[in-house]
C-alpha cells in the first residue's frame, strides 16, 4: 500500500458509504476497474467499518481515569426493576455523574427519568453530600420551565425474579418528552422571532426562579433545553431547562466553610462558557448564566453558534476581545431589541452584563420591570403546568426560623431563602346541609377525602383547629360560622378557607363552594371564588351513595384544587371518586364520621368501637381499618393494630386508599414491624408526591435513623420544619437525634423552640436528658419531676418512668423501683393496661439487675401475658436471656419456658413480619441457652442480628458471646469470645447519649449495666486504655453518693446474686 493507493481506497470507500448497503458491493467492483486487490482492500475496509463503530471512540485516558468498566456499560438494562418500583425502559445516555434511564413508575403508571450515580462517586461521602445538597436545591425550584427533581435515595436493583444487581444511589426526575433546542436548530435552522421570544421568555422565567433560589446553572446551552410540544394546536411548546447537574449555590468560600468540600474541576462545556468561567471555576456568578443565555438567544435567531467551534482555541480570545459577530449578519431583519439584548449578555466582563434575566427580557420586550415580572409569571402559567408559589408567604417562614435558631442562623438562613416548595394550607369547614336529608350531613368526609389527594393542598387538621379554638377561648364544639372560620384561618396560617353548602329541592341538588382568601380581619375576606356543582338524586333512596353525587363532589374538589394552582396533570394523577377512597355506603360513612368525632373528643375506645361497626357495614372500607389500626397502636394493642393495618393493606382493599394514606400506613406498619427499609421506601414515595406535607418528611426520619443514616434523618427533619414551622413533632424528633449524635449544644437550642411551640413537657424531657448527660443531676431530677405534674395522664407516667431511669443509672435501684411502683398503683383502669405492662417490664429488668430472678420473672410474665408491644417482647427476651445464663434452678427454668410460650403466642404465624422473624430467632436462641447449647444459641442470635436495624444496640449479643466463652474449648477461644462480648458492651458504654437520646426506648439502668459489664470484662482481659478510663470516670460521676459508698463497702448488688463456684465470675457481669 502506498499513499497514493491509499487515497484511492479512501475515495472509493467514502463514495460507497453514500450508497445504500445493498448497492455498495457492486459499486466497489465497478470503481476498482478490474483491480482485484484494490477491490479487496476497499471491501475489507468497509467490513471493518461496519464493526468498528465503537472502536477507539472512548479516549484512552477518559476511560481509564474512571477506573471502572461501569463507565462504559450502563448498570441497568431494559426490564430491570429498581426498588421494586421503577422499571427501566431504556438508557437515555450518560454524563459525568452516571447514566440516565427512562423508566416507568409501575405504581403510578407514569414515566420518570432515573439517574443512577456512578458507584465511585457514590462511595465518596463528600460527593454524596454534594448530591444530597444538589437535590435539596433542585427541589426548591418547582417551576414549569425547569426539569423537576423528585427524590434522591439508595435502592436495590434486580433483574427478573431471581437476580439482584445491587444497591445503587439514584435520582428520579421528570421525564421530558421532546427534542432539544440544539436538535431543533440543527433540523430546521433558526427560529422565527416569535418562536425564539417564546422560548426566551420561558427559559428566563425558569432561570429567574433558580437565581432567586441562589442556584447557578452553569451549563446552559441549546443541548440542555428541551422543547415539549403542547397538546393543543395553537399553544406554544414548553421549554424546559435540564441538567442542573453542575449547578450549585454561590460558593461558600474556604474560610469558615462548613463542609470543606472542594470545588469541582472545569465544569461546563467550553462552547457556552463565560470567559471568567474558563479562567477559573471559583468565581462564577449568575452572570455566567446570563452569558450562556445570551449565546442561546444568538443561536436561536441566527441558527448558528456565536463561537463556531467547541474548541477552546478561538473562543476564549474572541470572548475576551469582545469581538462578537453581530446577529444581524445572519438575520438581517433582526430587531434592535434582540441585538441589544444579546449584546448586553455577552459582554466580557461579568459585572458589565445584565445582572438578571429580567433585565434581558426587559430589553428584549421593550418593557419596564414590573411588566416583565408579570410576563415571566404568565410564561410559567401559559405552558400548562403551574406551581405558583404566591400563596406561601416566604417572609413568614424566614422570620420564624431565624428568630428561634440563633447559632444555626447561617446554615438555616440559606435554606429559608430558598423558595419554599409548592403547598398550601387549606381549611375545609364542615359542609352545611340545607336540604333536610340527614345522610348528606356526611358529605364533608367525602369532600375531605377527595381534597386529600391533592399534591398541592394540605388540609388543616382537626388538632390544629382545636388548638386555634383554644387560643380563641372557644369550646371545641363551637359551631363554625364564617367569622370564626376566618379567624381560625388567620391563626393557623391557612391560605384559603373553603365553605360549602348543599342545597336543593325536588330531585335537584347543588353543592355550593365558596373559596375565600383570608385577609386581616375575620369579618371580611381578601378574595372570593364561587362555584356550584349539581346533580340529580335518584328516585329511590338506597344504601349506596349515588354516583352522581360522588361525581359532583369530585368535580368540586377538582375545581378547588385547580384554584390552588395544582396542574391538570397532577390533579389527574390522583383523582379517585370519593366513594372509592372511603366508602360508598351511607351507613358506613355515618359510622365513620361519628367515630372521628368521638376520637376528637378523646374517646379513643368509643371511636374504635364505632369503626369496627363501620367495617362490618362495609368490609372493604380500607380507611376505616387504617384508623382502627392507628387507635389500636395508640392504646397499646399492638397485636390488634397489626391485624387492622394488614387488613387495610390487603391488596383487595388497599386500592380504596389514597396514595398518601396508603404510603402513610405502609410506612407506619413497616416501622411497627421493624422493617425500616420498607418504611423508608414508603415515606420516600410519600414525600416525592406530597413534598410539601411535612408529615412525610418527619415520619421518614425515623426509619432513616434506624438504618444508621442519621445525616439523612436530620436532613429530612429540617425539611419537615421548613414545610411547617408550627409543628412540634419534627423539632422534637430532631432534638432527640441531636442528643444521640452528641450535639448537645444544638439540641439545647431546640428546647426553647419546642417550648414556644407549646409542648412544655417534651421540652422538660429533653432538658432533663441533656442535664443528665452533662452530669448535672440535680437539674435532671428537677426537669423530670416537672413532667410528673403534667396535666396529661400518660405524660405523668412518662415522668415517673424517666425519674426511675435516672435513679437506676445512678445506682439507686430501690428508689427506681419505688418510682416505677407509683405508676403501678395508679394504673388500674383498662386504658392504662398498656402502660402497666411497660412498667412491669421495667421492674423486671431492675429486679434482674439485683439478682431477684424469681420476682423479675413474675412481673415479666404478667407483662408478656397481657401485652404484645415490641418493647415488652424484646426487653422481655433480653431479661430471659440474662437469667438463663445464670444457671438457674429447675423452677426458674420452668418459668422461663412458660414465658417463652406466652411470647411465642404473639408471633404471627402467617404473614410473618420482620419483627416476627427476629423474635422467632431470639426465642430459638433463648431456648438453646437454656439447654446450655451456646453454639446453637449464638447462631440463632446471629440470624436475628442480621435483620435488626443498624441503630439497635447489640449489647444483647454479649450474653451469647459470654455463654460461648464459658463453653470454649481453649483459652484462646474463650478470650476471643470474651473480647466480642466486650466490644458489644463497649459500643453502649462509650456513648451514653445513644441511650439517653431516647431513654424510654431502653429499660432503666441500661447504660449503667452496659458500662459495668464493659469495665469488668476489660479488667478480666487486662485492657486499660483511654476508653476504659473515660468510662470509669463517667460512671463515678453518674453514680450517686449513696451508690458509690455502697460499692466501696462491697455491698453492691453483685454479691447478692447466688454464686456457684466457677460460675461466680460470669455472674458478676450480669
Amino acid at each position: 500500500m502506498t499513499p497514493d493507493r491509499w487515497k484511492t481506497v479512501n475515495e472509493i470507500f467514502h463514495a460507497a458509504l453514500e450508497l445504500p448497503e445493498a448497492e455498495r458491493g457492486g459499486y466497489v467492483t465497478a470503481a476498482s476497474g478490474g483491480d482485484r486487490l484494490l477491490e479487496q482492500d476497499v471491501l475489507s475496509l468497509l467490513k471493518a467499518d461496519s464493526q468498528a463503530e465503537d472502536y477507539l471512540e472512548i479516549p484512552l485516558l477518559g476511560y481509564e481515569a474512571s477506573e471502572n468498566p461501569y463507565f462504559l456499560t450502563p448498570p441497568l438494562a431494559a426490564g430491570d426493576i429498581l426498588e421494586r418500583r421503577f422499571q427501566i425502559v431504556r438508557c437515555l445516555g450518560s454524563g459525568g455523574m452516571g447514566h440516565v434511564f427512562e423508566a416507568v413508575d409501575t405504581d403510578l403508571k407514569m414515566r420518570v427519568a432515573v439517574k443512577v450515580i456512578r458507584p465511585e462517586i457514590a462511595a465518596n461521602p463528600v460527593a454524596l453530600e454534594y448530591f444530597r445538597r444538589e437535590v435539596r436545591f433542585a427541589r426548591t425550584i418547582t417551576h414549569t420551565n425547569v426539569c423537576r427533581t423528585y427524590e434522591f435515595d439508595k435502592g436495590w436493583a434486580s433483574r427478573g425474579e431471581e437476580e439482584t444487581i445491587g444497591e445503587l444511589y439514584f435520582l428520579t426526575m421528570e421525564c421530558i418528552d421532546g427534542e432539544t433546542l440544539a436538535a431543533r436548530i440543527q433540523r430546521e435552522g433558526k427560529l422565527t422571532p416569535t418562536e425564539a421570544r417564546e422560548v426566551a421568555v420561558q427559559i428566563a422565567s425558569g432561570l429567574n426562579s433558580a437565581h432567586a433560589a441562589g442556584v447557578i446553572h452553569r451549563d446552559i446551552k441549546p443541548g440542555n433545553i428541551m422543547l415539549v410540544e403542547a397538546r393543543e394546536e395553537d399553544r406554544p411548546p414548553r421549554a424546559v431547562l435540564m441538567d442542573f447537574g453542575l449547578a450549585r449555590r454561590d460558593p461558600i468560600h474556604a474560610s469558615g466553610s462548613d463542609s470543606g468540600f472542594s470545588q469541582a474541576g472545569m465544569a461546563g462545556t467550553f462552547a457556552y462558557m463565560a470567559p471568567e468561567q474558563m479562567e477559573s471555576d471559583n468565581r462564577v456568578s449568575p452572570a455566567a448564566d446570563i452569558y450562556a443565555f445570551g449565546l442561546v438567544l444568538y443561536e436561536m435567531v441566527t441558527g448558528r453558534r456565536a463561537f463556531p467551534t467547541d474548541s477552546l482555541l478561538n473562543s476564549v480570545a474572541q470572548r475576551l476581545s469582545g469581538a462578537i459577530p453581530s446577529a444581524r449578519k445572519f438575520t438581517p431583519d433582526l430587531s434592535e431589541a434582540w441585538e441589544r439584548a444579546i449584546e448586553g449578555c455577552l459582554r466580557p466582563v461579568a459585572s458589565d452584563r445584565f445582572q438578571s434575566v429580567e433585565e434581558v427580557i426587559e430589553v428584549l420586550e421593550g418593557r419596564g420591570a414590573a411588566q416583565v415580572a408579570t410576563l415571566l409569571q404568565k410564561a410559567e402559567a401559559r405552558s400548562g403546568r403551574h406551581k405558583r408559589r404566591i400563596w406561601i408567604a416566604a417572609g413568614v417562614v424566614c422570620l420564624c426560623i431565624v428568630s428561634l435558631f440563633g447559632a444555626w442562623f447561617r446554615i438555616i438562613r440559606q435554606e429559608a431563602n430558598a423558595t419554599v416548595a409548592s403547598g398550601s394550607l387549606v381549611y375545609l369547614t364542615p359542609v352545611r346541609n340545607q336540604t333536610g336529608h340527614k345522610e348528606l350531613d356526611n358529605l364533608t368526609e367525602l369532600f375531605r377525602a377527595s381534597l386529600s389527594q391533592s399534591v398541592q393542598i394540605n388540609l388543616l387538621d382537626q388538632g390544629r383547629i382545636g388548638d386555634a379554638l383554644q387560643w380563641m377561648t372557644k369550646p371545641p364544639d363551637t359551631v363554625i360560622d364564617a367569622p370564626t372560620a376566618r379567624e381560625i384561618a388567620m391563626r393557623t396560617g391557612a391560605h384559603r378557607v373553603v365553605f360549602a353548602s348543599v342545597t336543593g329541592s325536588g330531585r335537584m341538588r347543588q353543592l355550593n363552594i365558596d373559596i375565600e382568601q383570608p385577609g386581616d380581619s375575620p369579618e371580611r375576606s381578601e378574595n372570593q371564588w364561587r362555584n356550584t356543582f349539581s346533580w340529580q338524586e335518584a328516585s329511590a333512596p338506597s344504601e349506596t351513595i349515588p354516583p352522581e353525587l360522588l361525581s359532583a363532589v369530585r368535580n368540586a374538589s377538582e375545581w378547588v384544587r385547580s384554584k390552588a394552582g395544582e396542574s391538570k396533570k397532577d390533579i389527574a394523577q390522583f383523582n379517585s371518586l370519593p366513594g372509592d377512597i372511603t366508602t360508598a355506603n351511607w351507613h358506613a360513612l355515618e359510622q365513620f364520621v361519628y367515630a372521628t368525632s368521638l376520637d376528637m373528643k378523646g374517646d379513643a375506645e368509643g371511636a374504635r368501637k364505632e369503626l369496627s361497626q363501620a367495617v362490618q357495614t362495609d368490609p372493604s372500607f380500607a380507611l376505616a381499618y387504617a384508623r382502627m389500626a392507628d387507635i389500636d397502636y395508640e392504646l397499646g394493642h399492638a397485636s390488634d393494630g397489626f391485624a387492622a393495618y394488614q387488613r387495610a393493606l390487603d391488596p383487595g382493599l388497599s386500592v380504596r386508599l389514597t396514595r398518601r394514606e396508603r404510603d402513610r400506613i405502609l410506612g407506619m406498619f413497616a416501622i411497627d414491624t421493624m422493617d425500616f427499609s420498607a418504611a423508608n421506601a414508603a415515606f420516600r414515595d410519600y414525600t416525592s408526591f406530597y413534598g410539601s406535607d411535612y408529615a412525610g418528611w418527619a415520619y421518614r426520619s425515623y426509619p432513616l435513623m434506624m438504618l444508621g443514616r442519621m445525616d439523612e434523618a436530620i436532613d429530612a427533619l429540617h425539611t419537615a420544619m421548613q414545610m411547617d414551622p408550627n409543628r412540634h413533632f419534627a423539632p422534637e424528633m430532631l432534638a432527640r437525634y441531636l442528643l444521640i449524635e452528641g450535639r448537645y449544644g444544638d439540641a439545647a437550642l431546640l428546647i426553647g423552640k419546642i417550648r414556644a411551640l407549646g409542648d412544655g413537657t417534651f421540652a422538660d424531657a429533653i432538658q432533663g436528658q441533656l442535664s443528665f448527660l452533662r452530669m448535672n443531676m440535680g437539674q435532671a431530677e428537677q426537669a423530670f419531676a416537672q413532667i410528673t405534674n403534667a396535666s396529661n395522664r400518660s405524660r405523668q407516667a412518662e415522668g415517673h418512668a424517666l425519674l426511675a431511669r435516672l435513679w437506676a443509672e445512678r445506682g439507686e435501684y430501690e428508689k427506681a423501683l419505688a418510682e416505677l411502683s407509683i405508676n403501678l398503683e395508679s394504673n388500674d383502669t383498662k386504658s392504662n393496661l398498656h402502660e402497666l405492662a411497660l412498667r412491669r417490664v421495667d421492674i423486671a429488668y431492675v429486679d434482674m439487675q439485683l439478682g431477684r430472678d424469681s420476682e423479675s420473672l413474675r412481673n415479666l410474665k404478667e407483662a408478656v401475658a397481657s401485652d404484645s408491644d415490641l418493647y415488652v417482647l424484646f426487653n422481655g427476651i433480653d431479661i430471659l436471656d440474662m437469667i438463663a445464663t445464670r444457671n438457674p434452678k429447675p423452677r426458674v427454668r420452668q418459668e422461663i419456658k412458660s414465658i417463652l410460650t406466652l411470647l411465642v403466642r404473639w408471633i404471627h404465624k402467617d404473614e410473618e413480619s420482620v419483627a416476627d422473624t427476629i423474635l422467632r430467632a431470639r426465642v430459638s436462641a433463648t431456648k438453646a441457652l437454656l439447654l446450655g447449647n451456646a453454639v446453637k444459641a449464638e447462631k440463632a442470635f446471629r440470624e436475628a442480628d442480621q435483620l435488626m436495624a443498624p441503630a439497635v444496640p447489640r449489647t444483647s449479643f454479649a450474653v451469647f458471646h459470654l455463654a460461648a466463652a464459658r463453653q470454649a474449648g481453649d483459652v484462646r477461644q474463650r478470650d476471643r469470645a470474651t473480647s466480642l462480648a466486650l466490644a458489644a458492651y463497649k459500643v453502649a458504654a462509650d456513648r451514653p447519649e445513644s441511650i439517653w437520646g431516647r431513654p424510654l426506648q431502653f429499660p432503666p439502668g441500661y447504660y449503667l449495666a452496659s458500662a459495668k459489664a464493659y469495665l469488668q470484662l476489660a479488667k478480666k482481659l487486662q485492657i486499660s486504655d483511654a476508653s476504659t478510663k473515660v468510662c470509669k470516670e463517667r460512671m463515678d460521676k453518674f453514680l450517686s453518693a449513696a451508690a458509690l459508698k455502697s460499692r466501696e463497702r462491697g455491698e453492691s448488688q453483685f454479691n447478692r446474686s447466688p454464686s456457684r463456684g466457677g460460675e461466680r465470675q460470669w455472674q458478676m457481669i450480669q
Binding site: W6, L45, A52, Y55, L60, I121, F270, D310, A317
Partner: protein
C-alpha cells in the same frame, strides 16, 4: 525549573515559524505541567468529572502561557504537541508494564498510576502505536487525528481546529482511519 510563561510562548512561536527543534524543547516543559495538573485532578474530589484530557491540556496551556494569548495558531500547535506527548507517555507506560522495565527518559511511572491505563491494556496500546506509525506513512493527517482523538481525547471539532480543517473532514478521516486500524489489529 518551572516554565516561565514567556518560554512556552516563545517556543510556540518558534514552532510556528517551522522550527522543529522547538518541539523537543517544549515537550519536557509541557509534560511537567501536565503531570502536575493530573495530580491535582486526582486529588480533587471532582464528582461528576472523569479526567478529561482536553481539560487537562487546556489548563496546562493557560498556566504556561497565560490566558491573554490571542494567537490561535500557537494554541493549536500547543494542543497538537500535547497530544503527541500524551501518546508517548501512554505508550511508554504500556511498554514499561509490558517489560517491567522503566521506559527511557519519560519517567512515566511518576505520573499518578491511577490515571494511566491498566497493564492489561498494554499490548493493545503498543500494537495501536505501531499501527499508527504505519498509518502515518500512508496519511499523516489521519494518524494525527487518531492521536488527537484517542490519546488526547479531543472532539472532532477540536481536532479540526488544531489541524485547520473542517470537522466534516475530520469525521471522514477518522472513520476510515478507525476502520483501517481495526482491520490491522484484528488479524
Amino acid at each position: 525549573m518551572s516554565a516561565m510563561p514567556g518560554d512556552v510562548t516563545e517556543l510556540l512561536q518558534e514552532l510556528k515559524r517551522g522550527n522543529k527543534a522547538a518541539e523537543a524543547k517544549l515537550i519536557p516543559l509541557v509534560y511537567k505541567e501536565l503531570r502536575r495538573i493530573a495530580a491535582i485532578y486526582m486529588r480533587r474530589e471532582s464528582p461528576g468529572h472523569s479526567l478529561q484530557p482536553t481539560a487537562l491540556v487546556h489548563e496546562a496551556y493557560l498556566r504556561l502561557t497565560g490566558i491573554r494569548e490571542v494567537d490561535w495558531q500557537s494554541r493549536s500547535h500547543f494542543f497538537a504537541v500535547s497530544a503527541t506527548i500524551m501518546r508517548r507517555i501512554l505508550v511508554d507506560h504500556a511498554r514499561a508494564n509490558q517489560t517491567s522495565k522503566r521506559g527511557d527518559g519519560w519517567d512515566a511511572a511518576s505520573l499518578n498510576d491511577a490515571i494511566l491505563p491498566s497493564p492489561q491494556k498494554a499490548p493493545e496500546i503498543l500494537a495501536l502505536d505501531e499501527a499508527l506509525d504505519r498509518l502515518a506513512l500512508l496519511d499523516e493527517r489521519q494518524a494525527k487525528i487518531v492521536e488527537l482523538r484517542f490519546f488526547a481525547g479531543m472532539s472532532e471539532e477540536e481536532a479540526g481546529s488544531v489541524l485547520g480543517i473542517s470537522s466534516r473532514t475530520v469525521k471522514r478521516d477518522w472513520r476510515v482511519a478507525k476502520a483501517w486500524l481495526f482491520k490491522e489489529l484484528s488479524c
